[in-house]
């Protein structure tokens, strides 16, 4: 197996140090940093996401893999020429008002960033207005809401409404996820564009939303 195959495997197995060494070696062997990310690291994480959906992998393994991948991307970033670094889209992320949980949201952020998206992370306890401001400020393609508490439903609804009723409503897509939410509530009641049941699905659906635009 070549260095890059080994790298892909190391990321999938969450072997961070090994993955970093292999990244280093791949660069020394002349591989294009951009190609390492798009051709190997992102597919590695996609494969992890698929295994996750098939219940062959679980959240802890996915987090460990994502962390390994992030370490590799951090090594490569300074080597990428600016013109190559075309982002796949800009996503504003945050946990809704009244909620300080951010583990799920952070996982989405890791997965998005390592898949080539620009992410503006607003953190947790984010009021509806702040989501809207950030969407304007970053000219976002997608706004992602996370809500872990059952008490957060009204804040999800307010946030989605604030964005959809603004001048941004036509172009920015809204996706919501988190333990407290259901597809029915998010899409039918709140009027968001998509619901994701977990981080892996979230990344996939964000990609779909941008493709279908």
């Amino acid at each position: 197996m070549g260095t890059l195959d080994l790298l892909k495997q190391a990321v999938m197995e969450g072997k961070r140090k090994e993955a970093m060494q292999l990244t280093q070696r791949a660069v020394e062997e002349g591989a294009d940093p951009h190609e390492i990310i798009n051709g190997w690291l992102i597919p590695a994480l996609n494969a992890v996401g698929e295994k996750f959906e098939k219940r062959e992998m679980f959240v802890p393994e996915m987090m460990i893999s994502a962390k390994s991948m992030q370490a590799c991307v951090d090594l490569l970033k300074p080597l990428i020429k600016r013109e190559q670094a075309v982002a796949r889209g800009t996503v504003v992320l945050g946990t809704v008002f009244g909620d300080l949980h951010d583990i799920g949201k952070n996982l989405v952020k890791m997965l998005l960033e390592s898949s080539g998206f620009q992410v503006a992370d607003l953190g947790q306890n984010v009021p509806p207005d702040r989501f809207l401001e950030a969407a304007r400020e970053h000219n976002a393609d997608v706004v992602g809401l996370s809500s872990l508490l059952t008490t957060g439903d009204s804040h999800v609804q307010q946030t989605v409404r604030a964005i959809k009723e603004s001048e941004m409503g036509g172009r920015v897509k809204v996706i919501c996820g988190g333990a407290a939410l259901t597809s029915k509530f998010v899409v039918e009641v709140c009027g968001a564009d998509a619901y994701a049941k977990d981080a892996a699905e979230g990344v996939k659906k964000i990609a779909d939303l941008l493709q279908n635009r």
């Binding site: 197995e13 969450g14 219940r55 062959e56 992998m57 679980f58 959240v59 802890p60 393994e61 987090m63 460990i64 962390k67 008002f97 009244g98 909620d99 300080l100 949980h101 951010d102 583990i103 952070n106 953190g123 947790q124 306890n125 508490l149 059952t150 008490t151």
Partner: protein, 627 residues
């Protein structure tokens, strides 16, 4: 032929004879409560008919009377409702006959208590009234107490006033006044002897424990535990807050549920001690912040809203009767102070009980429950945080998880050569599920035996019928169907391991973060709570629940929160110390911290097989008694 499925076990039975649901549940050996033994009098066997192929016959008059509004929600009495068509019946938590095993013992290390109780007996002789200088009964009693003890400006509650005339005369002038903090008369009684009973409550999200003590000697009179009846409204604090938001009467329902539970415990404990509830003269209570709010009837909804402010932090003295708690009508309930939305008076009580305010040894205290509260203390500094560990440590979100009740697997050893397990269950009954300490023990052994690898994934190359692919991914069979009480293979799944990883990693990250903030390594770890007490410290290290610090001792301290409530009952100085703890403890909010997220992901893996401490190879009973 009617087919009946009982949830939550998914057990099925077929009948053509139209038997009652209670009879069918008994045939299956399900633990459905029926205190009256099926004589249709107690109303304890409530079940919910979730589905029926044909409409059920309408509820009987008796069902309507006992169930009230519940009949509209599909509730039936199992002793009345007959299986005439295919049914799916859920047996709710409240109807489960299950003797909860609760850690009621004190800590192994006794903390010396000085008895400085709030209520003290003052024997006194009161002069007879004389015709030419009539003084009221209350005035003569107050004068005598002033002359004998220098007690001035005593307050007499109307309920005590009502006792005075009878007590004075029955005692022929020779009586004992029970006075609180030298300022208020709580009760009167004849003669000079007798107990000064008080009761301490530890109100957990799942379990409530009551300790009946004699304030004059510190002696334990009775200890009783019960399931928190609020469990039927939701297993964790957040779902109970939701009840208060969604149901207009939700707060009152939860409040009266817990008050009813406390009154039941008072009756039981007093019955055991041979005293009347009205003889109990003081009470204390600790609990997490939500439990504390619900007991006082305070709206907890802002506790779910960042930055999670509690309605109050300070200790409260309230008349027990004002909350509906039936002890002496003039007696007080003292609620210990709390720190924050997710660090309650139970954590403050743990700090009291373990003497952390004064410790010189940097110590980590972990109270394992649905929220894992962590305190780092030493040399006058106290730091605390709360990690959302989830219910895994109490057997929740685990495929075969159950609370620590008879039949729960509490300890597991796995032979690394054959991969065959040996199990220890509570009360040595056939296995019915796995409790929190059992989950930790099982996973620790699976890691040691190489069944579970570093990232929590299963070693798929093992050749053992016990390691197999099930519906939810890979799993390990702890107990084959014919050997256990549930009639299915009891397994630990990859998903269970994942739940435990998320829980242990949260606690691990919280502990590391507090240690970093504290600035020097801890030398001692105290594990509080039932799960912490029964857990083998080596298992805790094997799964990476506790950061490994060379040479740090790990000690189980039992139900430290309950013990702290007892200290506050017996010694008023402890109440002042509790205020100090609540004031001086520095609260660290984890969920906003980048560093916490880093530590959380970093702590997700299990220590590799070479790193972990070896197996004790003993199925030993930990010290301490269960109630």
């Amino acid at each position: 032929m009617a087919k009946v499925v009982f949830l939550p076990w998914n057990r099925q039975i077929e009948t053509a004879r139209g038997e009652t649901l209670l009879e069918l549940a008994r045939t299956l050996g399900l633990p459905l409560e029926a205190s009256c033994g099926g004589r249709r009098t107690c109303g304890k066997c409530k079940v919910v008919v979730e589905q029926s192929s044909d409409p059920m016959p309408p509820p009987s008059d008796r069902e309507r009377k006992i169930l009230g509004d519940l009949v509209h929600k599909g509730y039936r009495l199992a002793c009345e409702a007959k299986a005439l068509s295919d049914l799916v019946v859920r047996i709710p938590e409240e109807s489960l006959r299950r003797r909860q095993v609760v850690l009621t013992s004190g800590p192994r290390r006794r903390i010396p208590v000085r008895l400085r109780p709030p209520v003290l007996p003052y024997p006194v002789e009161v002069a007879e009234p004389v015709l030419h200088a009539v003084k009221g009964d209350r005035e003569r009693l107050a004068d005598s107490l002033r002359d004998a003890y220098g007690l001035r400006k005593l307050v007499f509650d109307p309920f005590v006033l009502r006792e005075i005339p009878v007590a004075l005369r029955a005692a022929h002038g020779d009586l004992t006044a029970l006075i609180r903090n030298r300022s208020e008369a709580i009760s009167l009684r004849k003669g000079r002897d007798g107990l000064v009973p008080g009761i301490a409550f530890d109100i957990g999200t799942t379990t409530v424990v009551a300790y009946l003590l004699d304030l004059s000697t510190g002696r334990s009179l009775a200890v009783r535990a019960a399931l928190n009846p609020q469990v039927s409204f939701g297993a964790d604090v957040v779902s109970r807050i939701s009840v208060c938001q969604e149901d207009q009467d939700g707060l009152e329902k939860l409040r009266s549920a817990i008050v009813g539970c406390l009154n039941g415990l008072i009756d039981e404990a007093c019955g055991e001690a041979g005293i009347a509830p009205a003889e109990v003269l003081e009470a204390t209570a600790v609990g997490n912040t939500v439990m504390n709010h619900l007991l006082l009837g305070l709206d907890p909804r802002y506790l779910a809203l960042a930055p999670y402010p509690p309605v109050l932090q300070a200790a409260q003295d309230v008349k027990a009767r004002d909350l509906g708690i039936r002890i002496a009508p003039s007696a007080y309930l003292h609620l210990l102070p709390l720190k924050a939305g997710f660090v309650g008076s139970d954590t403050v009580a743990c700090v009291l009980a373990t003497g952390l305010l004064r410790t010189q040894v940097p110590t980590l205290l972990i109270d394992l429950g649905t929220n894992g509260e962590i305190v780092m203390a030493g040399k006058g500094r106290l730091l605390c945080c709360s990690t959302a560990a989830g219910p895994a440590f109490e057997g929740g979100h685990i495929r075969f998880g159950m609370r620590a009740a008879p039949g729960a697997i509490e300890r597991v050893r796995i032979d690394p050569a054959t991969l065959e397990p040996s199990l220890q269950t509570i009360d040595r009954l056939p296995a019915a599920g796995i409790c929190g300490s059992g989950v930790i023990s099982a996973v620790a052994e699976m890691v040691r035996a190489g069944i579970v690898l570093r990232r929590g994934n299963f070693n798929e190359g093992l050749r053992s019928p016990r390691v197999r692919r099930g519906e939810e991914g890979w799993e390990y069979v702890l107990s084959w169907a014919p050997e256990n009480a549930v009639g299915r293979d009891i397994v630990v799944t990859r998903k269970d391991v994942s739940e435990l990883q998320l829980a242990k990693s949260a606690v691990h990250a919280g502990a590391c973060l507090l240690e970093e903030r504290y600035g020097s390594p801890f030398r001692r770890v105290l594990l509080a709570g039932a799960c912490g007490n029964y857990m083998d410290p080596l298992d805790a290290l094997a799964i990476g629940l506790i950061p490994e610090n060379q040479g740090a001792r790990i000690v189980g301290v039992g139900n430290a929160a309950g013990h702290g409530a007892c200290l506050a009952l017996l010694d008023t100085k402890q109440r002042r110390l509790a205020e100090r703890v609540a004031r001086e403890m520095e609260y660290v909010e984890l969920s906003g911290l980048e560093r916490f997220s880093e530590l959380f992901v970093a702590g997700m893996a299990f220590p590799s097989a070479q790193e972990i401490p070896g197996n004790t190879n003993l199925l030993h009973q930990p010290e301490g008694n269960r109630g």
